[in-house]
Symmetry: none
Subunit: 206 residues, 4 copies
């Protein structure tokens, strides 16, 4: 289900008329996105060549540029197809967070997510256009985490005056740091520690 219409640079016949001529091939569309993800994972954003995508997808370059104005929105759309945090609601904050983050962690191993995300994020600052496309996608992907925290506030598990965005950052922060800067390896056990530490604070709890 594609909803992100800004991603398409296309002058596609989204009006009423069903348009004349040969319709665009969904097959090609999918092949392009798959190739993009595969190459992003292999070589990263800046070494990704549109010609490489085309040849890997068995597609002409024009077929790519007909759908995406440049390699940027193409990459963003490919990225947006990667799975995001999946909401978990057991009624217990600690359980929810640990389950969600463990699931998410699995995605880093099973999808190009771990390599694509830093590539795009690193480019965001220098590329207003990318930022405009990417930011809503990123915001959306965080939503499940924000909702879990909001529910915890409602249940009284967390203080009413908590800055939810900041709270989310605190939880996600250590993962991001290790993703971007290397440092110690991630793992299910570490993820539990992160959640515990974020909830109780460095000073530890009574």
């Amino acid at each position: 289900m594609r909803t992100n219409h800004e991603l398409q640079a296309s002058d596609s016949p989204n009006g009423s008329a069903t348009s004349a001529g040969r319709p665009r091939s969904d097959e090609a569309h999918k092949a392009i996105l798959d190739a993009t993800l595969a190459l992003l994972a292999d070589v990263g954003f800046s070494a990704l060549k549109v010609e490489g995508v085309a040849s890997r997808a068995g597609v002409g370059k024009a077929t790519i540029y007909r759908r995406w104005r440049s390699k940027l929105p193409l990459v963003v759309e490919a990225f947006s197809l990667l799975p995001a945090l999946e909401e978990v609601d057991t009624g217990d904050l600690v359980t929810d967070l640990k389950k969600m983050l463990r699931n998410y962690f699995e995605l880093f191993n099973s999808t190009p997510l771990g390599t694509v995300l830093p590539s795009l994020a690193g480019e965001r600052r220098h590329n207003q256009a990318l930022s405009k496309l990417l930011d809503p996608v990123l915001r959306e992907r965080r939503r499940p985490l924000v909702r879990v925290l909001e529910r915890a506030v409602e249940r009284g598990e967390l203080p009413r005056d908590l800055d939810i965005d900041l709270a989310a950052d605190l939880i996600v922060g250590p993962i991001a740091v290790r993703l971007f800067f290397g440092g110690g390896k991630l793992g299910p056990r570490l993820i539990d520690s992160i959640v515990d530490l974020a909830l109780s604070g460095l000073r530890g709890r009574s």
Copy 2:
């Protein structure tokens, strides 16, 4: 004081002899690094052109390539010259952290740090060579934070069994997240909140 010898791609005769021939110009060296930082700040990593650096530094391209094998190690060395966390030691953890992070935050506004760091970090995954050059630099830049935390453990302000690396990630995490993903803006007040939240945890303290 440059210590990071791996950054130089040069085959320079760093043995004992002063080497024959005209020595490399320190002036040019500095001009190149300055130009690199200036351009990084202006246009970012991927839009940085070596030719741009050369012309801005008033230097021939060969002079750049004689010292750095490509734009990557050049940028890494330029980056490593940017100021890092500056250690503060007042005897009180909260004060130390807040001062350090506030100082650090200033650097994001007064240097290209905020733009260079994500660029490099985003590339790290796809570029083993970059990773090799960059990782020690990154590790070194974290060191002041680690030391502050270690002192706090010794003073008893933090639990003895604390995972210091993880603790550092928790503190730095929210800053990294906003740096890479956008989200809410940073500011001195927010930095205080980060420190308080990290120390006491999301649940708040007694």
Copy 3:
């Protein structure tokens, strides 16, 4: 009519199929050759820059290198388009030769021939590849002169045992010498003298 297929470095699909993709532009092809000739005349072979040809032809460098492996075959092909000796057949050897050479002499003034020819010839010795391309072209350009001499032999105007190649060299020699080494200027009157002298010999005739 281009027949000299070796001149094209291209891997063009000259088989049977019309080949896929956009066909190469004849317009660009011509513009490149024209620019090459113009620049050869202006600045000569060794000062001719491929970038200069490209910009003068309003063409990207790649478009040149797609067709010719280097500036050398480019220049050879451009050269091969210049007019050559034009055969004249009046039935009288002296008349034929004088007309042909006078016509040829005009070409030195009206085309880049006089500058291009020495440039290429001077390079021939050091450049096997050039030699391979150039020699057949040069041979072909001499042919009209050889044929005129052959006809004269058949008519009995010249001895049957004459070494035709050497005879051609004798006639063309003085022109070449002045072309390459400077010396006295050429002119229609001088050309007549050359023909007379070559036919009758230095000792003069009875």
Copy 4:
């Protein structure tokens, strides 16, 4: 014996004062010229690199540029050191010419002459500076041939009204043609034919 002062770009103290400082090394001078000739023979004029000359001569580049303003006068001077036509005077024109040209022909096999001469000649047209340096050298090298012809005129072997320059061109022409354009190989026998043909004319004599 160097006499060609224009060839030296040097500001050498050719006045009265014996100049202060270390005198220029004649050894280096000779090594440079030798290296130049060797490289000219190997790779030709346009592929000759000053750095190549320097390293082959075991000399710094500055030592070359201190003596010759650029690679051009260097090459010209090296060329001017090559042996030229050597005058022969037996009292018989045919004998003189055949001996001289046969000697000269030997030089093509035993020196870089055959490769250097076309290179320089081919450049002459596009390089006024080269032309200025080279032309007197070329003129001088022809002198023996001119003198032989003049003597033959005086002896009555050749007509009084003969255009001596043109006569020289006629004799030298076929050699030049084969040197520059390839064609049939040269050899002692062919040289005799050239002389005979030039003296008696293509039509043959009574």
